[in-house]
């Protein structure tokens, strides 16, 4: 093969190859996942029983803040970009991403951004301690000095995400093989295209809000300081205008992944392809008009509460369509349950549970009881862990044979799945109960009445943490000594990557565009 590329470290530093960059994104996100996970272990150790045992409250707040920031921006988002890099060119019949040099840059910003963010743990006054939502004025007037490093870090991640999103949009619009019309694209490409638009719309808003924080902190402005005529609630409006689409940025690509995997193992075409595309687009559009459902207790006018309540509940409709379509895809299929399918099925069931608690949270008069309790923590972990992370995990198992030309060990994969399934539920399900019983989130210590559920959640979390090591070992063993994979490893799989490319896929994918019927 005429793959001209430098070897050693230079290959990775200079690479403009979508596969190299995709791999780096995925490994980077996994490292961040372990770091963010280690912080979750600190949190769960402290909450294992009442009393302050391991950390002081200020460090506890640093842990919850950094855990959230690292998981959202360092683990989930880069993992999705990694999948996009690997899969989109192969799926649409392109030789590479449209803007390869920018692709390199958008990856290499990330290690620096997160080094900056993580270094704040070692600074005087400690890391940011105001929660990943960094509400003003706790993060402005009252923020630790390291807040400025956090602001710079967020700017860098934002630039990286915007560049990644531009790359996806340009690639999808310009590099499709002849015959690959938009409505023939695999659903994963569709969901990523829509995600990319969301990113371009909201990352600048995030950049704006952190810049306003910076000027409030250092240049005498009072955007969020009531004493200077500003408004702390405005911070929340701007933040959540970014923050709500952000949750769909994290989940839509995972929707795409399971929409590829479920048909493959049902040996049946995806049910309702076009309604899946429209549902994804509707979710994306609705995500821009629901942001204030995070703010029902801030004293909004009733009219505002009603609007955001009803708009939010509407999201259940397109989301429901997706779930029903997945179920209909399995219906009368010819199902087998290999590891990627198991993770995808768990995704559908557990994400639906997260969706149910989402509808409950949308109802403003009851949200007053749920808001900022562990019920919310349970809700968003149900959509993020068995949602986004199971989605990525399913993708890794499903496409690993294509990426590496090696098969993972099916038994190990299944053990990984069942460990994940048991521990995810053991960790996050009890949080519904402690929240309903009245336990606020982000507290380092609690009354006895919350003790049982916290103990279960902690035990589950430790198990879930160890499971990730098992996952790492399974993947490394597969890459090093897995059995050679076939071109079409899964008999029910479809798409250019399976039909037109050998396993492993060559370094340069399509020198001449394939024909799509």
């Amino acid at each position: 093969m005429g793959d001209h590329h430098p070897t050693g470290i230079k290959r990775w530093l200079y690479t403009t190859n979508h596969k190299d960059i995709g791999s780096m994104y995925l490994w980077f996100s996994f490292i961040m996942f372990l770091i963010g996970g280690a912080m979750a272990m600190v949190i769960r150790a402290e909450l294992y029983q009442p009393g302050l045992q391991f950390v002081d409250p200020n460090f506890f707040n640093q842990m919850t803040t950094m855990h959230g920031l690292i998981m959202v921006f360092g683990a989930v988002m880069p993992s999705m970009v990694g999948l996009a890099n690997w899969l989109i060119p192969m799926m649409i019949g392109a030789p590479d991403m449209a803007l390869p040099r920018m692709n390199n840059w958008s990856f290499w910003i990330l290690p620096f951004a997160f080094t900056l963010l993580l270094s704040s743990l070692f600074m005087e006054g400690g890391a940011p301690n105001f929660g990943w939502t960094f509400y003003a004025p706790l993060s402005t007037t009252y923020g630790p000095p390291s807040t400025d490093f956090f602001i710079l870090g967020v700017h860098m991640m934002g630039i990286s995400s915007i560049m990644g999103a531009i790359n996806v949009i340009v690639t999808v619009f310009n590099m499709r093989a002849p015959g690959m019309t938009l409505m023939k694209m695999p659903l994963f490409v569709w969901t990523w295209l829509i995600t990319a638009f969301l990113l371009i719309m909201v990352m600048p808003v995030l950049a704006g809000v952190v810049t306003m924080m910076l000027t409030d902190r250092h240049f005498g402005t009072s955007f969020f300081d009531a004493a200077g005529g500003g408004d702390p609630v405005m911070f929340q409006h701007i933040f959540w205008f970014f923050g709500h689409p952000e949750v769909y940025i994290m989940i839509l690509p995972a929707f795409g992944v399971v929409s590829e995997i479920i048909p493959a193992f049902s040996r049946k075409k995806l049910f309702g392809y076009s309604s899946m595309v429209y549902a994804t687009a509707s979710i994306a559009l609705l995500s821009f008009i629901v942001w204030a459902h995070h703010m029902f207790t801030t004293g909004m006018p009733v009219a505002g509460e009603l609007f955001f309540m009803i708009a939010t509940m509407l999201i259940a409709v397109p989301t429901g369509v997706k779930v029903f379509n997945w179920v209909a895809t399995m219906w009368q299929g010819s199902l087998t349950f290999e590891t990627p399918m198991l993770f995808s099925i768990a995704f559908v069931i557990l994400f639906t549970i997260g969706g149910f608690s989402g509808v409950m949270l949308a109802m403003a008069p009851v949200d007053f009881q749920y808001h900022d309790t562990y019920f919310v923590v349970a809700h968003f972990h149900y959509v993020l862990f068995p949602g986004a992370i199971f989605g990525t995990t399913a993708a890794v198992y499903y496409w690993l044979p294509k990426w590496t030309g090696k098969m993972y060990n099916e038994t190990s994969g299944k053990i990984h799945f069942w460990l994940s399934m048991v521990f995810v539920n053991l960790t996050f399900f009890p949080m519904h109960f402690s929240g309903l019983a009245g336990m606020p989130r982000r507290i380092p210590d609690y009354n006895m009445m919350f003790a049982d559920f916290n103990m279960w959640a902690s035990i589950g979390a430790f198990g879930l943490g160890l499971t990730q090591i098992y996952f790492l070992v399974t993947i490394i063993v597969a890459i090093r000594s897995g059995k050679p994979a076939e071109q079409k490893q899964w008999d029910g799989a479809s798409g250019l990557e399976w039909d037109a490319l050998p396993s492993p896929a060559p370094y340069h994918t399509f020198d001449t565009p394939p024909k799509v019927n």
Binding site: L138, M313, W331, S334, L335, I345
Partner: protein, 385 residues
């Protein structure tokens, strides 16, 4: 026979223990119906949504499980080929819309009722600050701070201090908010530093306390009793340590409480005036200063005076504690804008202020030898006006 009877007795008692455990666990697993009409309505709505979700789950997950069993490859080797049906897709778009409308109607009604603060019979202003609540009765001349009363050693040494025997661990305060039963009480909620949130689950009242803004909410409690809640918006280091406790009294008891408070106030004012009139010795100031400091100041500046820099500066060898007395009095009485240092002028008596300043100037080898008298504080406050 005897053994069997004993066995049955043991079994039934075990069973009843288990059952009561389950019942108790169930009570701790769910939202509490609470003690107001709105909290009960919120609970009913909560249960209604849960049952709707259970029904949907049974149908959707049931269909999935049916597929897993009967459409697995071994049982169903040839897959069907259908891949869309406009009719079916329309049905499962419209049915969820109908379900949502069914859920929205009661929610809208309840929301409008919950946000109607008109025709209240009394008002309390609630101000959150790091990490305590201040209650001011607008219709009476009563105001006080409400601090966590669980002793520090209980959470710092949970096992050794017997904290497990404290049923109200972290949910108890020195001064409870006292309100009368069957009275529509309006709360005006605000904050002095960062955003806090005032929540009592049994009242179904949760409102953010936002600096510079006043939010309104209300409650009308049906049953006298003590109801406990917590701050629910991350507000810094001790966010987990600022509980809310509401004591609801019958109307006559509430009148007695108000009268007692008024009497207390007269006594306290007299005592403060007397204290201010005398000249205090260093020992006396240091003793009162230490108790006051440990109770109010050590949360941030630490018992050792070393603080948690840079957010909470050290007082040992600090330019404030070693510098000009007036500047020291000013920062303690008025606080410092833009930092977590709140003004203690209205939270402490003049004697306590004088004592704590004296303590800070002489403890931890600061040894300035300075004595600050209650009269100095009075003079400073008079100059302020």
């Amino acid at each position: 026979m005897v053994i069997r009877r004993k066995l049955i007795a043991v079994m039934t008692s075990l069973l009843s223990v288990m059952l009561s455990g389950v019942v108790q666990a169930a009570a701790e697993m769910n939202m509490r119906p609470g003690v107001t009409e709105t909290s009960q309505a919120a609970f009913d709505l909560h249960m209604m949504v849960i049952w709707v979700m259970v029904v949907i789950s049974v149908i959707v997950f049931g269909a999935m499980i049916y597929s897993f069993i009967f459409h697995r490859k071994s049982k169903h080797p040839t897959p069907a080929t259908f891949s869309h049906s406009t009719k079916v897709e329309l049905v499962w778009t419209i049915i969820p819309i109908l379900i949502l409308i069914y859920l929205t109607i009661p929610a809208v009604k309840l929301l409008i009722e919950m946000e109607d603060t008109s025709e209240s019979e009394m008002s309390v202003q609630i101000t959150g600050s790091q990490w305590k609540w201040h209650y001011k009765y607008i219709d009476h001349d009563i105001e006080f701070y409400s601090n966590l009363s669980t002793p520090r050693e209980q959470f710092e040494n949970y096992e050794g201090s017997g904290a497990a025997n404290n049923p109200n661990y972290l949910l108890e305060v020195d001064n409870e908010l006292v309100i009368p039963v069957d009275t529509k009480v309006r709360f005006l909620v605000t904050a002095a530093d960062v955003i806090h949130s005032w929540w009592v689950p049994d009242l179904a009242v949760k409102k953010d306390a936002i600096p510079g803004f006043i939010n309104e909410t209300w409650t009308k409690v049906l049953t006298p009793g003590i109801y406990r809640g917590q701050c629910t918006e991350l507000c810094g280091k001790d966010h987990g340590f600022m509980p809310v406790v509401v004591r609801v009294l019958s109307k006559p008891d509430f009148a007695i409480w108000v009268a007692d408070k008024d009497a207390e106030k007269v006594v306290a004012e007299k005592a403060a005036a007397e204290a201010a009139a005398q000249s205090w010795s260093l020992d006396k100031l240091m003793a009162l200063g230490k108790t006051t400091y440990d109770a109010k100041c050590s949360v941030c500046h630490q018992v050792t005076g070393l603080g948690l820099p840079p957010t909470f500066p050290a007082l040992k060898d600090s330019p404030i504690a070693l510098g000009a007395i007036d500047a020291h009095i000013e920062i303690v009485v008025d606080g410092k804008q833009g930092t977590s240092m709140a003004g203690y002028g209205s939270q402490l008596t003049d004697a306590e202020l004088a004592a704590v300043i004296t303590y800070e100037r002489n403890a931890w080898d600061n040894n300035t030898g300075d004595l600050v008298q209650p009269a100095d504080i009075q003079a400073f406050k008079a100059g302020n006006k």
